[in-house]
Symmetry: C2
Subunit: 186 residues, 2 copies
């Protein structure tokens, strides 16, 4: 794998998560990396190919985290906390998550990014409801209603939590983070 290619993807993801998909250009990337505009097009012929790769990589990272958690036999509470730590870190770095960044731009994105984003969102919600369901059965969690609905509520708390923290200029994510966990305590 090319180092330049990796740097482009890393910077592209940063730009999407700080400024949004439609607010960054290949120039932003090339000037920051000290290369020319055309060099970015060499690795990613179109902006949509770059966007699609970034979302795919994000999903791979999520899958790696899931596998890691399973292999270490973490209980549901720890698994949820590990997942939530990703958002705590995002907030500290003043970044949104990729889903919360690209979601509002969805109607301006091509089918390839859209479907990857949908796939990733469905996968996260599926994983989260599974954790919640198992945790509920084991008595680790306590909540009303269907685990699927609960997963949607918790996930939307995290996605918009980052956005609202940015608007409100809150550097800590504690309020939402703690409230979600308190809600789930038996």
């Amino acid at each position: 794998m090319s180092v330049t290619r990796e740097k482009i993807m890393e910077l592209g993801e940063d730009l999407i998560r700080t400024r949004g998909y439609n607010a960054f250009s290949y120039q932003d990337i090339s000037s920051e990396l000290g290369i020319k505009n055309a060099a970015v097009h060499y690795y990613f012929p179109s902006k949509e190919s770059l966007g699609t790769s970034i979302v795919k990589t994000n999903m791979q990272r999520f899958e790696e985290m899931v596998e890691n958690l399973q292999s270490r036999n973490f209980d549901e509470w720890s698994q949820l906390e590990t997942f939530m730590k990703i958002y705590v870190k995002s907030n500290r770095e003043l970044k949104l998550c990729i889903i919360g960044s690209l979601g509002p731009d969805l109607n301006t994105l091509n089918e390839s990014i859209r479907s990857e984003l949908k796939k990733m969102t469905e996968r996260i919600l599926q994983w989260l409801s599974c954790i919640l369901k198992n945790g509920l059965e084991k008595g680790i969690f306590s909540f009303k209603g269907d685990p699927k609905d609960r997963a949607l509520l918790i996930f939307s708390n995290m996605v918009a939590g980052l956005q609202l923290a940015r608007i409100l200029e809150k550097t800590d994510f504690k309020a939402i983070h703690q409230a979600i966990l308190d809600d789930l305590k038996p």
Copy 2:
């Protein structure tokens, strides 16, 4: 008030809520309204002036709703439901709310839009926590923790609920809507 000016603001808001701030242009507005680009600049010299006006109008509409609810002596449950209906309607119209649309673009917006957006977000959260606090004291609602934190959770559910519904291509907002209300039932 000029009809053209109102049409520009209405269309501008629609564009922000469907495609995002950085994805719409004065051309989009002028061609749709059958006027020239410069005519839009006549009413709103800069895009930031248009954006700021749109956010201010949104906040005015919110304040009008609040006053209306208070004058009619609605109980807390009905007040919350009325507020949530705005989001149900947004979802039906395939639009995000203005806060969820502009939040991710915040770093690309000028100070004027930013501060208006912050003011509006703070005002909504303040109102919502007040409703929750009063409803809790009257026994209309039941929830754990501070009303302020609860307001943040519920509001983030609505903001990201619209975004996730768009990504997942869900035309109904029922799951989130119902789960929020069920959670608050005594």
